[in-house]
Symmetry: C2
Subunit: 146 residues, 2 copies
Amino acid sequence: MRALIWHVDEFSYWPVGRESDAAEEISEGPREFRDSIVAMVSAEVGDGPAEVEEMASEIADVAHQVGCSSVVVYPYAHLSSRLAPPQAARDSLEALEKALASRGLNVHRAPFGWTKGFQVRVKGHPLAEQLKVVEPGTGKARRRGG
Amino acid sequence: MRALIWHVDEFSYWPVGRESDAAEEISEGPREFRDSIVAMVSAEVGDGPAEVEEMASEIADVAHQVGCSSVVVYPYAHLSSRLAPPQAARDSLEALEKALASRGLNVHRAPFGWTKGFQVRVKGHPLAEQLKVVEPGTGKARRRGG
Ligand SMILES: [Mg+2]
Ligand SMILES: [Mg+2]
């Protein structure tokens, strides 16, 4: 599991079309966020509960570092060549949402399986952008990955 | 060399502080762009002229696919764990700028070695976001990498 994590002033997105059989129904609710952590997440082959929990801890650490309790989990297929199959990826992202909520964070998860546009304003401080890599099968984060 | 390539409605950035001895002087000029390709680029250990040329071809292909001749090259250390040393990375990014310009594209390169904030509005179409990976030492792009 890989996540590009941003501390943002603003983030918004708009679904434009289904791109997967595993696309979920789009729910009502906010699609614009301010002063949030945004985790752009690629679920990979071999990710399981241990990898999800480790990534939740990594994201929660960033949230605490920067003093921000609002987190957006955004499915993002563009960080890995070893993407999990769609239904498994969707399951991992839902589990990540729950794992973050159980850590007291206010979590919004963007819908899986949709082509979406997005707009973001990433803050300009040294911790505002971080890549986190949890190797599938290890449940352990690398400090800096790629 | 890795690049996360976006087709954007708008992109802007603002330098906030030096973060590297290889930081370059900030030049005058535009820092706001419309209807452009933005390449967020990590230069890696082992990248040389062949990798730079291959990445330029990949980026130029995307530009042609989406019918856009304006390209922003943005140094981005958050896509790889095998980052090139700062001066080598800066050299690769400058070479990438030249290689893109030689393909007839209108190129802006954001300054290397600065902590920057950025704002982007990524279009919502299936080709608007692509990861390109050119393995150091091969000069060959993987179709989908990570
Ligand atoms: Mg997409
Ligand atoms: Mg940075």
